[in-house]
Symmetry: C2
């Protein structure tokens, strides 16, 4: 009944395997580094970077969620945890009774300002420095191409 599965050919499979292993290793090492260097999680880091650098330290809940491309539920749980640790605070929105702002606290600013340079160093050391500038830009271009392709595809 079914068509034969169309497996990847050896070259395709090798490329896919390398990509997957690289990506897992890299992300794993970077997150563990963030944790160890700053006692923040990778999720904390992303949220604080977006909030402070792109949102000026204060954003509506859903704007923040869109910025990092997270579901609102994920963000809500995350903000709850971060608020418990004092990295951000929730504030009411006067314009919209349902709404909420997320605000970076001074401790949040301090944490991100300390963590960011270290994180960048690790990105450099593990990733950027592995490639020539030309190779790096090729990898970026190919990534963007895959992204563009995915956006045209159904889920």
């Amino acid at each position: 009944m079914d068509a034969q599965p169309r497996w990847l050919d050896p070259e395709q499979k090798a490329a896919w395997d390398s990509f997957i292993r690289m990506q897992e290793t890299l992300i794993g090492r970077l997150s563990r580094r963030i944790q160890a260097d700053s006692s923040m999680s990778a999720a904390d880091y992303i949220v604080l970077v977006s909030l402070t650098e792109r949102g000026g330290g204060r954003l509506r809940f859903l704007d923040l969620a869109k910025l990092v491309e997270w579901e609102k539920s994920r963000m809500s749980h995350q903000v709850t945890r971060m608020a418990k640790r004092g990295l951000v605070a929730r504030e009411e929105c006067p314009d919209d009774g349902r709404g909420a702002f997320v605000v970076a606290t001074p401790a949040g600013y301090k944490a991100i300002e300390e963590a960011a340079p270290q994180h960048v160093e690790h990105v450099r050391r593990l990733f950027v420095d592995a490639l020539t500038p030309h190779q790096l830009s090729t990898l970026g271009r190919l990534s963007q191409r895959v992204l563009d392709h995915m956006e045209k595809q159904p889920d």
Copy 2:
């Protein structure tokens, strides 16, 4: 005191951002697909593939963990969950009283045999088909290069 942080230059940052977004989107969509198609998690899938295709359906615990490059604790929890769902079973090791085998059950085989072709189709559709063969092999080569580089780096 500290040296100025050496931020990424705009080209580097663009490449890094594209890579990160691509990788997150891709992995996210593929895992959700596996879940939806087969009611297995991505973790279940990886374990079953390794166990059946590379381990002949039966492996010592730590061999399996090494194969997928997981910590033993992670694998132990995962095997517990999978055993509860009937995908694998634990068996005692006669040679080594501490040891344990992990064995794929018939249900495990059935699950992976149904899931694998669909998964490959999604990898093709989202990733492989986004690139020309030449681009794909370039991406594979660059990934491998980053991997090799990371292996030489301390944690």
